[in-house]
């Protein structure tokens, strides 16, 4: 039940929050975009 956690694809040394690019528990692919930086649909 012990594995090398660096193989899970998460950069634990990152200075930035991991959750911002956390794709899902099943993948080491980061997600594009930042959910905190909401981009509105706006009228112009």
């Amino acid at each position: 039940l012990g594995i090398d956690l660096t193989t899970l694809g998460l950069n634990l040394n990152s200075a930035e929050s991991l959750y911002r690019t956390f794709g899902s528990p099943w993948t080491d692919e980061p997600v594009k975009g930042d959910p905190d930086f909401t981009v509105p649909q706006c009228y112009y």
Binding site: L1, F22, P25, W26
Partner: protein, 523 residues
């Protein structure tokens, strides 16, 4: 009771009408608001059974549409393509209802949301119960993802509206936990760890979201525990386990204080065999802390500023003691340390489970009770010590005084280590080792206790077991808690413990090599 036929027809027609608005490009607030008003005027959004049926029927239509869209595939293909159009429509309709409904004409937005979530939870539970292995969780996943992404953008009508949305979702997820709907487990983990949910629940709001997330994490561990107990994992369980590790790593990196403050709850439920998983929790430390390298020569732990501070613990440490009505006896003993009491001799019996409970739990002992007893007694001992230590002096500088003053606590620990046989002793030592974390006075005290028990024991079997408990936590892959490293290094370096002269350090060449490599990696 089944819906009247006319009602189902009406709802289907309304859904079709909604589709016409939904598929228009761009934003169509006016049309949408008018549609919602129409629903309200038709009495479909009131605080009654009709609205429950309305949402349930819509969900039924949406899910059926989704499932029936499964492309015909060969049986070996892993996953099917599904059309989520109807699900997206339904999610969008609920969102629009929440956005445009006015409380003057009916329910408040939060009440409406609670209603929808309750209907959804019950629907999923029923669907899973009925369909069993043919239950498909993906339509519901899509539904919740839509809500996670959209519900946070509702204009905050009142302070903390978004927080209420989050806790309403958290409560729904708790009702859909793996133990209740096991076929929902993978979807569930992805939802509760989603970046539009988990970090929002854990950030801000004065940490009021923390107990909700703690509950969810415990739900997960509770489900996995029986599978992980014996460390024999089939592929699905292994997959879930790895997913859990990823989530824990995100927590360790981004919200370590959360893991710190609830470590006690998590250690109650993570099986002893999951050493690395437990180490992840125990390795967490507050972000503003700098941990000195344990292998620093002549490191003076006693002089660290943090070592005299108590860690924050949000778990209820004495809950198990209270539940077993042991707490007052423990308090009594610690306070008065009476002679001729049966308290100590009865301890072992109180820690044992009944045969049927033991069979289900896979262990003879009540592990949460053991954990509670050990930490509670230690915390009381530390309080006593602090009360009697002159101001300005650290607890540690009164080591010998400590032994005398906290005799009562030590009586309890020594009783446990001598009276319990191998299994019980192992669980006791685990309970102690679970407090070896970042620099604080619990780490310091329990490190001291562990080393004291080692040095004062005249049975090599006990010394061997103490060593084994420390070693198994060190030979798994990283991370390793700071307090664990400090304790082990002290054990092997300080001549007082005569570690290398113990026969078990040389009982086999593999063991010798193991000790050498571990001590090398500790610096």
């Amino acid at each position: 009771e089944p819906d009247p036929a006319a009602f189902q027809e009406q709802v289907s027609l309304l859904f079709a009408e909604w589709y016409k608005i939904y598929e228009l490009p761009g934003v169509n607030d006016q049309l949408t608001a008018r549609f919602v008003l129409q629903l309200q005027q038709n009495g479909l959004l009131k605080a009654d059974d009709t609205s429950d049926r309305f949402f349930r029927r819509l969900l039924d239509v949406a899910v059926s549409h989704c499932i029936s869209s499964e492309a015909a595939v060969q049986s070996h293909q892993q996953t099917q393509t599904l059309s989520f159009l109807a699900i997206d429509m339904y999610a969008s309709l609920v969102f629009s209802i929440l956005k445009f409904s006015s409380a003057d004409h009916g329910l408040s937005k939060m009440s409406l949301l609670s209603k929808v979530l309750t209907v959804t939870v019950r629907f999923i539970q029923k669907d899973a119960e009925e369909k069993k292995i043919s239950f498909n969780p993906r339509p519901y996943f899509r539904l919740f993802i839509n809500w996670l992404l959209d519900l946070n953008t509702l204009d905050p009508v009142f302070e903390g509206a978004n927080f209420q949305v989050l806790t309403a979702l958290a409560t729904s997820f708790h009702a859909l936990q793996p133990l209740k709907v096991p076929a929902f487990s993978f979807v569930w983990l992805e939802l509760v760890s989603h970046r539009s949910f988990m970090p929002k629940l854990l950030s801000g709001n004065g940490q009021k979201g923390w107990p909700y997330f703690q509950r969810l994490l415990v739900d997960l561990f509770q489900f996995m525990e029986p599978f992980l107990r014996n460390a024999e994992l089939g592929e699905p369980v292994r997959f879930l386990y790895k997913g859990t590790l990823r989530v824990l790593l995100v927590l360790l990196h981004d919200f370590p204080e959360f893991l710190c403050d609830y470590h006690f709850s998590f250690c109650d439920i993570i099986p002893p065999s999951c050493i690395q998983m437990r180490n992840i929790v125990l390795s967490a430390f507050p972000r503003n802390m700098r941990l000195p390298d344990p292998s620093t020569p002549n490191l003076k732990i006693d002089l660290l500023a943090e070592i005299s501070q108590s860690p924050r613990i949000l778990s209820e440490v004495d809950a198990a003691l209270k539940a077993k009505q042991m707490k007052s006896d423990v308090d009594e003993y610690l306070k008065t340390r009476p002679q001729g009491t049966s308290f100590l001799s009865e301890l072992k019996q109180k820690l044992l489970l009944s045969p049927s409970e033991a069979a289900r739990a896979g262990t003879r002992y009540n592990v949460p009770l053991m954990n509670s007893l050990v930490l509670y007694v230690g915390m009381q001992a530390i309080l006593q010590l602090q009360a009697r230590t002159p101001h300005g002096q650290s607890m540690a500088s009164n080591a010998s005084l400590a032994i005398f003053l906290v005799g009562a606590a030590l009586d309890i620990f020594q009783t446990l280590i001598l009276e319990l046989e191998t299994e019980g002793r192992y669980l006791f030592l685990n309970a102690v080792a679970n407090q070896l974390r970042y620099p604080n006075n619990h780490t310091h005290y329990f490190s001291f206790i562990l080393l004291y028990l080692f040095s004062e024991s005249n049975q090599e079997a006990i010394q061997e077991q103490i060593t084994r408990v420390l070693l198994e936590r060190l030979i798994v892959n990283r991370p390793h808690p700071w307090g664990l490293l400090i304790t082990f290094i002290e054990l092997i370096k300080n001549p007082r413990y005569n570690f290398w002269s113990r026969s078990f350090t040389r009982c086999a060449p593999e063991i010798e090599k193991l000790f050498e490599s571990v001590s090398r990696s500790c610096g």
